[in-house]
Symmetry: C2
DNA sequence: AAATTACCTATTGACATAGTAGGTAAATGG
DNA sequence: CCATTTACCTACTATGTCAATAGGTAATTT
């Protein structure tokens, strides 16, 4: 299960991507548009800053902004950073202690195959692939 | 992340599949071979019985046995039953309350696509596809 | 100086995970 | 018939994670 942290982070990144022409975006605006508690988003955005995905500046006129353009982020790198790992079983998680059953475990190849599928899927998607895919329009027609 | 419940359940099923010629297999044997606490396996096997995946008989000479042959189980049905859902985000989980953002959510199509990938992967694998895939041998050569 | 914004530490309630403990019921072998 | 083996059942618990909330300080602009 992908947690709110990863999912909200992606939505914040998307929101920033779609409003990048407006300069630095206050978190308040993102929180309102996305209908997510601003307080909670603070925690998430802090990690996005630490990961160098976004930059923030304080004060009036401040806010957050992407560091790169939307097509230069993969969904995978964002999720992996926020979730800690994309691995679906503990024994395949980076930094996990080596399981003594590796080698004889009959299920490990299954998990490894699924892990690769997952990794390839999310690293194959770019932030720019997701913009403008909601069915409801923002303004018009 | 797939929990121990699903992973252990799969290993129990596999163990039973590989020893089905020996008739009813005591859980004690499975626990020893798989190096998993028998007490914990009891909980898991109870659910396998409830799901009609295995049958158990009490008393001396008793134990557990698969209900069908190994090629008639998909990995997906076993995991889904044990984990409750295979869905990777809450809003796609069966029985989840409908999210008011469905329709405007820009990330939903991504999760839906990944969900389908996951579902197809695990339902495309059969128990019999996993037998005999550990590298280490049981006895010999 | 006032307002706005990011940034930081700490805390919390709810829930799931991964078991453990200690029994009862059923079936068999001797 | 009785001891043994096995499944089956209820309850408990420690630990950790999740999803926030609370209440501040620091930076920047007008």
């Amino acid at each position: 299960m992908i947690s709110t942290k990863g999912r909200y982070a992606l939505r914040v990144m998307l929101d920033l991507a779609e409003h990048e022409s407006a300069g630095f975006i206050p978190l308040k605006d993102v929180a309102e548009r996305q209908e997510i508690s601003k307080k909670y988003l603070e925690i998430i955005v802090r990690e996005l800053v630490a990961a160098n995905f976004v930059v923030g500046i304080s004060g009036k006129g401040g806010g957050y902004r992407l560091c790169r353009s939307a097509e230069d982020y993969t969904v995978g790198e964002i999720l992996e950073r926020m979730e800690g790992t994309l691995a679906t079983v503990a024994c395949l998680s980076a930094g996990a202690p080596l399981c003594p059953r590796t080698g004889s475990c009959e299920t490990l190849p299954l998990w490894a195959e699924y892990d690769k599928l997952t990794h390839d899927f999310f690293y194959g998607k770019r932030l720019s692939d997701l913009t403008g895919h909601g069915q409801a329009a923002h303004g018009g027609a």
